[in-house]
Amino acid sequence: MTHAMDRRRLMTGTAAVLGLGWLSLPALAQEKRLRMFWWGSKERADRTFKGNKLYSAKNPGVKIDGETIGWSDYWPRMATQAAGRNLADVIQMDYRYIFEYARRGALLDLNPYVGKALDLSGFDKNSIDCGKVDGKLYGINLGNNSTAMLANISAFEGAGLKVPTGDLTWDEYGKLCAELTKAAKKDGFYGSMDSGGLEPSFEVFVRQRGKNLYSEDGKAGFSAEDASDWFAYWDGLRQSKACVPADVQALDKQNIETNPLTLGKAAVAFAHSNQLVGYQAVNPNKLSIGMYPSGGAGAKPGQYLKPSMFFSVAGTSKNPEDAVKVINFVINDPEGVKAYGVERGVPPSSKSRDLIAADLDALGKAQVDYIASVTSKVGPLPPPPPKGAGEIAFLLRRTNEEVGFGRIKPAEAGKKFLTEASSILSRG
């Protein structure tokens, strides 16, 4: 009967599919297998796989399966795996998300391992504390990082102007950029990007006023006036053509490849120090790295040292001890430290920094020097961001766009931003 035959064919087809599926499962072996998951592209993958290989060579019987994908695809996969209780043992974590995942119980408290499998003796207090959430240690800092202003050197020098640094106040910075726009005489080329919608920039601004973006109890730490002043500042820069107009800034999706600096529309980008390498790779002109403008006389330091990323261990890990050992290997063991270099940021441990100093290229050295130079000028860690902080970062961007496109006045925008942010925070 053909009917039956078809069914049989269908079944063998399905079985074949299943069989193929099983084939691609890792072969069963006696060795311990750990999974490690990180975002990043090729260079990071090369370095990480190398580190894992070195670890396995030193610890026979432990094999690490690396899983990697770019930043934007990382989080949906991570969320799905978390929902399935199938997270990798060692997870690369971001400063924003670590609070979200730790508070929901997806990560392992690493405090019990400190001083045993995990040696943090080379870390200063700040570098350890930034991985703590509600007193427990959920992430090991892989590299120090701070906000940084990247500037196109030849644009400023060609116009006979000084390359901007952190010595300038915000107002001086605005004037300098307006002069650059005028002097450059290039259609559609401006001094600065519009950083009014970038949460790290706003945070620096608020901290310079002695406040924080979020208070210890998870409320908004800034006032409507602070926000209004911020929006008004950037509106002023737009008016004076010191920064790009709103419809150019809106092309920026807050990543390297769409930043106005990269697109050749502005001479300055507001970014993070570990992104210097990425920006330089897609920019034909040499870039300088410097601190954000200052709050002027009597202002508090706005910037702080933050972790570029962490390694965390999944709460569901079956081999937590081994996972911790892997992390320890890359922050302390000379082989591991050298394999990673400064690709994930400047190592927090001074011993490790000395280890890699000799192998650094020019960009790596610029990064290390920058962190060394800002260390004495930064403020303390802010309180941890509450739930909803991610949504507020989006809100800031949108509100700045509304001002930019003339849909709302800066004064109102500040009030509206605070109201909406508070309502997001109360929802959690």
């Binding site: 119980g105 949504e391 989006f394 949108r398």
Partner: protein, 305 residues
């Protein structure tokens, strides 16, 4: 089956008559019950919880739905964006696809090359390159403005990053990727028997008359299919906004499509319970439109049976 003792009741009769059909349907039924039904019902359940992906979901009753309808301005904004997109992209895309399918159905030289070229944009799918490309075309210094300036001396705005126009650039992206309905129309045109045209020709009917009397009526099942599918797809549109605005929905939320909003709620803000409720509201809206299309089909779709 013949060996089964004949059931006497009417019900048995129906069951017996239905058996072959269920045999044919069995792969689909297995898929429905084993793969589709569970996750769909789970999402319905989750829409009544505060599921955050990691912790065990807690029942919150109809709170999510209440919030959607009484206290969520973003829901209304996303609805507006999505409806505008559906109303503009679907008719234009279908008209384009139908026109080109008809043009390409004629025996001209280089036919297969044209067909492949016109399908090319649809091949790009969700390619990362689309985002960069669309910016090259629709930015202030983009290709479109260069053409406008050259032809009319008009300096256009930055279409893609202006909240007044950004959505329309996504509509045009959708229209540009008209390849799939075009192929389906082509396949439909191929099914129209040649002899009908020959007969009509003999009766002295011109090309226009043939189109309205033969081509379009016989194509209605395919037009209907494309209409329903494209409407559903447009309501669910996610990729264009996600790729072009890189998940921000900007500028000023002007491209915050419904599913993008839902995705951000679920995966970025970890409110999967709320996202599930949003999804079910969307399902109801789509179902309403689809049911309406099926009701109307009685009056304009010609089936052979």
């Amino acid at each position: 089956m013949a060996s089964i003792a004949q059931p006497s009741s009417g019900l048995g009769q129906t069951v017996r008559k239905s058996l072959p059909a269920y045999g044919f349907l069995s792969p689909w039924l297995i898929g429905l019950f084993c793969l589709t039904a569970g996750p769909v019902l789970a999402s319905l359940y989750l829409s009544f919880t505060n599921f955050d992906l990691i912790q065990t979901p807690r029942w919150v009753g109809t709170a999510n739905y209440e919030r959607i309808f009484t206290n969520d301005p973003k829901f209304i904004a996303a609805m507006k964006v999505t409806f505008t997109y559906v109303l503009l992209s679907v008719p234009f895309k279908l008209a384009f696809a139908l026109m080109l399918a008809m043009a390409l159905n004629r025996g001209i030289q280089g036919l297969s090359i044209y067909r492949a070229i016109f399908y090319l944009p649809s091949l790009l799918g969700a390619s990362v390159a689309i985002a960069v490309l669309w910016r090259q075309v629709f930015a202030g210094d983009g290709l479109l403005n260069a053409v406008l300036k050259w032809a009319f001396g008009y300096q256009g705005p930055s279409w893609i990053s202006n909240p007044d126009y950004a959505l329309y650039t996504l509509v045009s992206l959708s229209i540009w990727q008209f390849g799939s309905p075009m192929i389906i129309f082509l396949a439909g045109l191929r099914q129209i028997p040649q002899d009908m045209y020959e007969a009509a020709s003999l009766d002295g009917a011109g090309p226009m008359r043939q189109m309205f009397k033969i081509t379009l009526p016989l194509l209605t099942p395919v037009i209907f299919f494309n209409g329903v599918i494209q409407t559903i797809e447009a309501f669910k549109a996610f990729t264009p906004a996600f790729i072009v605005s890189e998940g921000t929905g900007g500028p000023v939320d002007s491209t915050m499509f419904y599913t993008l909003y839902l995705y951000l709620e679920g995966f970025a803000y970890l409110r999967m319970g709320y996202a599930s409720a949003l999804a079910w509201v969307l399902v109801v809206i789509i179902a309403f439109f689809t049911a309406f299309s099926f009701l109307s089909a009685k009056y304009w779709v010609h089936y052979d049976d």
